[in-house]
Subunit: 237 residues, 4 copies
Amino acid sequence: MKTSLARRVVAEFLGTALLLATVIGSGIMADGLANGNVALALLANTIATGTALVALILAFGQISGAHFNPVVTLMDAFEKGLPWPETPHYIVGQVLGGITGAVTAHLMFAVPVISLSHHARSGPPQVFSEFVATFGLVSVIWGCSRLRSNAVAFAVGAYITAAYWFTASTSFANPAVTIARCLSDTFAGIRPIDVPWFVCAQFLGGFVATMVFRWLVPNLQVRAKEVLLAHDVEQTR
Amino acid sequence: MKTSLARRVVAEFLGTALLLATVIGSGIMADGLANGNVALALLANTIATGTALVALILAFGQISGAHFNPVVTLMDAFEKGLPWPETPHYIVGQVLGGITGAVTAHLMFAVPVISLSHHARSGPPQVFSEFVATFGLVSVIWGCSRLRSNAVAFAVGAYITAAYWFTASTSFANPAVTIARCLSDTFAGIRPIDVPWFVCAQFLGGFVATMVFRWLVPNLQVRAKEVLLAHDVEQTR
Amino acid sequence: MKTSLARRVVAEFLGTALLLATVIGSGIMADGLANGNVALALLANTIATGTALVALILAFGQISGAHFNPVVTLMDAFEKGLPWPETPHYIVGQVLGGITGAVTAHLMFAVPVISLSHHARSGPPQVFSEFVATFGLVSVIWGCSRLRSNAVAFAVGAYITAAYWFTASTSFANPAVTIARCLSDTFAGIRPIDVPWFVCAQFLGGFVATMVFRWLVPNLQVRAKEVLLAHDVEQTR
Amino acid sequence: MKTSLARRVVAEFLGTALLLATVIGSGIMADGLANGNVALALLANTIATGTALVALILAFGQISGAHFNPVVTLMDAFEKGLPWPETPHYIVGQVLGGITGAVTAHLMFAVPVISLSHHARSGPPQVFSEFVATFGLVSVIWGCSRLRSNAVAFAVGAYITAAYWFTASTSFANPAVTIARCLSDTFAGIRPIDVPWFVCAQFLGGFVATMVFRWLVPNLQVRAKEVLLAHDVEQTR
């Protein structure tokens, strides 16, 4: 039995909020404790983000599909998974959730509730990194589409853990995450002026990955409905 | 066939004892080896705690549900999982287990058996952090309630790994853990005077998460019995 | 169809050899790169050991049960899992495997093939730590005995990861490992004179855990055969 | 229904490219941030590589078997898994994928697109390390051949995480990886002159492991087809 749209959008909101609280909060904590050792701070930030994704996708996957990411939502609609009219609701839920998560992290660490970031992340290598990061992320998601759905949580958590380190941009790979992080003048921030380039590269990377997997896995559209939307009964206990 | 109450309470005692031995013992070890590098000490403490949770929930989940946490036990009773009359037995087992774990860690590291902590953890951001931490923990548990039960062990271990870093309080999220840690004047300690605020925020966070998930997952009460109490035969080999 | 004893003993030999190559080799590597930062060296040593256990138990579990540990083998026989006459073969395979692994690590890192360790690990807190470490390890193994067998690999890997940090002795918890490590005058070594105390504490910890779980899980003896010996067909593809 | 050879070769190409982008990219990132702390840089490089393998094997395993490694492909053909005529296609896809991944990492980090490495990795201990590393890798793969196929992703990711630390060579264990890394004058590089020794040791290690497992698991050839080639329907949802 399908979960109502309202419930699914609230699940996307909550999951994205907890994800952003993790990304930004762990960045503040790690930066504060690491005494300028950026490798160590990024390692803590990475481990927190990767494990949060595992937990949150396991928790919300059965309710909304646990996209937490407008690129994933659009690509899912493109493959006839999520119905198109539901797409804007998902994306609004994700973006508002991301901002709420940033605010939550700021309140927990007693820094200004909202502050525009001064962290420059620009130039072709950074933008190309976001293209690669999102191409990889969407590839992993479509690649797992024939596995039992729990595997997606581990695959995505593991992929983002790796991508924090193998891309020059530390792999935002998610427009909702990118928007929320420009509102945080902390370790995880990004200047608002750099956001549009990141977001374009992310959508492009996701789109190319979807086109590649449409050829690679001929029955991808059939799978899209099962994997990324609410999961079927066979998966439950 | 349901396991007897005595066996389940002993399982809660043992699991909580091993959990606290991990939290406090790894804190002492990490603090001692890290030469003042707090980020590195906390990373070791985090990895030890997260992996211990995975192992202990896998090991004791089939016996008692592996709550190890009075908030989880009360919320489970609230959702008609655990019968109310069994609740105090669970909680007493958890609290005594936590204290036993603290004492065990102290004996292993040759520090005073019991010593009140002087580690201040106070102020609204810390208390709000505990609210968020426990809200997230209970959300993850209820969110996984439709998955096969092994997933809960990985989800909770992963969540706490993240929450150590994304909350300003390093995410106690558990009254039995909080009480035991006030008896340890080491890396993981908390001043007794800060305990009541933490515990109140934890129960409140767990309660709000339960209310949210009651709406989000309409058949949550039906699931509570299966997931958090002793698991059914289908899960066994 | 049960695997022949010779094959199972060779599996125990190979698995224990690779385990010890990991414990000792990663200790040498980490110690050499960490410039005296012992917390960082131990963290690398921990992660290598925990992940090796996951890989090796997944790989050899279906063949021999992947004990790699005389305490586990004896307790399994005690619970009527492994037949008593096969026990000495298992233990000899494990001890020889451990020594072979130590030699392999030494050859890879170009240090003396065998050298008695000077690393003192003595005193009641260290010995008590080994009791606790092995009590916890055997508890986790028996606790997982009702889960599908893959879970044991993750539970044991996760448990040892935690136990490296929460015990003052870094959790040897295995007589074959202890013997092999006394032949390595490197980061992971232990003085030969400290070995008997460690081994006694390990057997005692394993025995107490087995007694506790005999009461806690009444049908433990029935499970022993299925879980720790070669696994049944249902588990295979 | 079997996936066409073209699709499987493209999957090998893509997966190996993403793997090498991770190995080399995370090496550059870690080296740049770690301020000469090589243990910390290698730890970040290790975690990125291990998690990338989990994600990529989960994603591409159902399509091509996710070998990403000429040794694995040859051994699979040797055990009558992959048909011999398809072997060269796989290997060419892997080698070209590896080079593409190196180029991608270089573009993301704005270093020269191709540059021969000056990182010396020579001498018998290094070459012996590659023998051990690949012996262990192929042992783990064959050992998991009776488990459900998802386990291979976790076992291989965990094994390589350990092997980065327990071998003196940091465990290349893969000729396609070795060739690509000689084209990168960065943290992860290897001098071209050292490549042939590494590759020979890798094939030898894989061959010995296959011979050992042929005896250890008598029905290994039957399994090879199911596990390492495209997986059957039972594994899908």
